[in-house]
Symmetry: C2
């Protein structure tokens, strides 16, 4: 299939609840994940919510990574959206799975921009 982008929807369950509430830790893990996948980081934006939870996005030259956490449920929703052939989004997902201590997870890949003419 000819697709412009690869989009991994990563569901992380039974994670380390303290990690899911730690903005600095999450930002570091997300940047590590981006770099490990081979991406070029262009910028990032992270926010911590009250009483809990963090949202963050890393913009990369090849698209983006995002995370939203629900510490109270040990759950994080991660997206790894990449384009081009130089980035391996699976590697980013693996970094998140390991560093957030996910007890179980699922990864669904959605092709984006499926163009007949490409």
């Amino acid at each position: 299939m000819n697709a412009l982008g690869r989009h991994l929807l990563v569901e992380l369950y039974d994670c380390d609840k303290e990690a899911l509430n730690d903005l600095d830790l999450l930002r570091g893990v997300m940047l590590d994940a981006a770099i490990e996948s081979g991406a070029v980081v262009l910028g990032d934006s992270f926010h911590r919510f009250s009483p809990q939870g963090v949202s963050g996005v890393v913009i990369i030259a090849e698209s983006h990574l995002s995370i939203h956490t629900w510490p109270e449920f040990g759950y994080a929703a991660v997206d790894v959206f990449t384009c081009g052939t130089t980035v391996q989004p699976e590697k980013a997902a693996q970094v998140l799975i390991e560093k957030l201590g996910a007890g179980h997870h699922s990864i669904a890949e959605i092709p984006r921009g499926v163009l007949v003419a490409v």
Copy 2:
């Protein structure tokens, strides 16, 4: 189904190619879309690529919106990820469809964070 988040994957085809390459226009449309959906905007980050294409993310209190454009193909990949009951992500998608002049489009909704205990 009890899900923590609603994630719309929006594929926009046959868009206005000039619009897809105009960072300021795209940022305005994305912020309009977020506000129209009822979201609270916390921040944004947009980047223009050479020779063409724009990536941008709007962080909202209810998760995020993102866009990646390929002007050469008239295509944009949009994500609208929301949580809670006060936001209507379909409204954000509709703003993008209209303001980018999409000739055709598809919207797939993926529930995120489906927890047995919720």
